[in-house]
């Protein structure tokens, strides 16, 4: 089945089986490995991407359901070689240990800050409850998202 998806501003068209999950379409068909494939049960959030500006767990959506949609992955955060504030935040605050949850955390974190530029730490804690860090490094992840909140120059908009 033919599917055309705009990912990070670029049109991609492929012939896929309808059962292909969006995460595998991104990682395997398009060879974009920034999006991580984690628990496979929509619990961990490592595979979080934006579909038409809203976060989605891409292990639980068929690629064909994204037909005509605009998808943003972690690779889409960099603009003209400059890191997005959320990426700066994870760098400055050491917001990762093993790094597995990081792409999903950044997609959710940036979206949370876009939704509410004055978001509190407590609201961020709740906002990332669908993203699991198995290293349990949540304190620095919260610091990183707060950094993005405090350094938002909005180079990427959802």
């Amino acid at each position: 089945m033919q599917v055309s998806v705009n990912i990070n501003g670029v049109e991609h068209s492929r012939d896929v089986e309808p059962r292909t999950l969006l995460v595998h379409f991104i990682r395997d068909d398009l060879q974009m490995r920034g999006t991580h494939w984690g628990c496979d049960t929509s619990n961990c959030g490592a595979c979080t991407v934006w579909v038409d500006g809203a976060p989605v767990k891409s292990c639980t959506m068929l690629a064909v359901q994204a037909e005509g949609a605009e998808v943003t992955t972690v690779e889409g955060l960099v603009k003209d070689g400059a890191l997005d504030p959320i990426q700066e935040g994870f760098t400055e605050c050491h917001g990762l240990q093993c790094g597995y949850c990081t792409p999903g955390m950044m997609m959710t974190g940036r979206w949370l800050v876009d939704q509410n530029p004055n978001i509190t730490r407590e609201e961020i804690r709740e906002g990332i409850s669908g993203n699991i860090c198995r290293c349990t490094g949540y304190k620095n992840i919260l610091d990183a998202i707060e950094y993005a909140r405090d350094h938002a120059n909005s180079e990427v908009s959802a």
């Binding site: 309808p18 049960t41 979080t48 976060p55 068929l62 669908g130 993203n131």
Partner: protein
């Protein structure tokens, strides 16, 4: 790696289109709403539909409105929209309280109220809410639409009265001026299914409870409700003693199973305690209204 079995995909463009596709495809087809229940089941091969008919393109299935003395929620309205709805909150804070403890914020962006109702998981929070409020389901098929009380909507765990070629289009909840409502849930971790949940509404007028509804999830109560406990409360003063008696009666209407979430006596204790806490808060809200 979990991947669904081979499947065909069709995107419905309207309610009529969805119905005609599902009817033509027969019982091996399934409608997909948010997908956060069906797709994991397909990945585990617990569900193997030949075709999924995607309802996400049907705008007429989304939205929340007041119609006469009913609140009407489109079946494809997302959990996030139910959670943030000022209209639902004004009449029934139970919606916000229940939605706040369903899954996580990302799942709530795409998961829908109708998908949740039709999945009919025994621990479904919104099924307990719907039964507590005595809502109705509007079901559309090629022969027209029919309405079914939510207390008659389930045929058992994961089964509803919706037939092949039909889809749930709306959920309707009667507005009750002066009602107070509340939802209580104990879960093992944030976003999990409940060990036990209880959701209630009460209307207190002239010093007595004139109407009430008690819903419970995850404890195997018939149609997620506790009618004997409701009968005990109706017409009575909302004293602590009366609320406690009703909460104990509700616990007796639960038939919990022992599983990894806990033993039977613990779950029955929760059914009583959570119902009591929900009743206290709902009574206070109704008295303050």
């Amino acid at each position: 790696m979990q991947t669904p079995a081979p499947v065909e995909y069709a995107k419905a463009t309207s309610i009529a289109d969805a119905i005609s596709r599902l009817e033509a495809l027969g019982e091996d087809s399934r409608p997909v709403a948010g997908g956060y229940s069906l797709i994991p089941m397909m990945k585990l091969r617990l569900a193997r539909p030949e075709t999924v008919v995607d309802l996400n393109g049907i705008a007429e299935l989304r939205g929340i409105r007041v119609e006469g003395n009913e609140l009407v929620v489109g079946a494809m309205t997302t959990h996030a929209d139910v959670l943030s709805s000022a209209i639902l909150f004004e009449h029934y804070p139970i919606f916000r309280e229940a939605e706040h403890v369903i899954a996580d914020p990302i799942v709530r962006m795409r998961g829908t109220i109708g998908g949740s109702m039709c999945q009919a998981d025994p621990a479904s929070d919104l099924s307990a809410v719907g039964s507590a409020l005595r809502g109705t389901a509007v079901i559309a098929g090629s022969a027209g639409t029919r309405t079914v009380p939510l207390r008659e909507f389930h045929d058992g765990p994961y089964e509803t009265v919706i037939q092949t070629g039909e889809i749930l289009t709306e959920l309707r909840y009667p507005i009750r001026p002066g009602a107070g409502s509340a939802y209580e849930k104990v879960e093992r971790r944030a976003g999990d299914w409940g060990v036990c949940t209880s959701g209630v509404f009460v209307v207190v007028s002239g010093g007595v409870i004139t109407e009430c509804g008690i819903g419970m999830a995850a404890v195997n109560a018939d149609h997620y409700c506790a009618p004997e406990a409701e009968a005990l409360l109706t017409g009575k003063a909302p004293t602590e003693e009366n609320l406690k008696a009703a909460a104990d009666a509700a616990a007796n209407e639960a038939n919990p199973n022992a599983d990894q979430r806990g033993p039977v006596d613990y779950k029955r204790h929760l059914a009583s305690e959570l119902t009591l806490r929900a009743l206290r808060r709902a009574v206070a809200a109704s008295q303050g209204a």
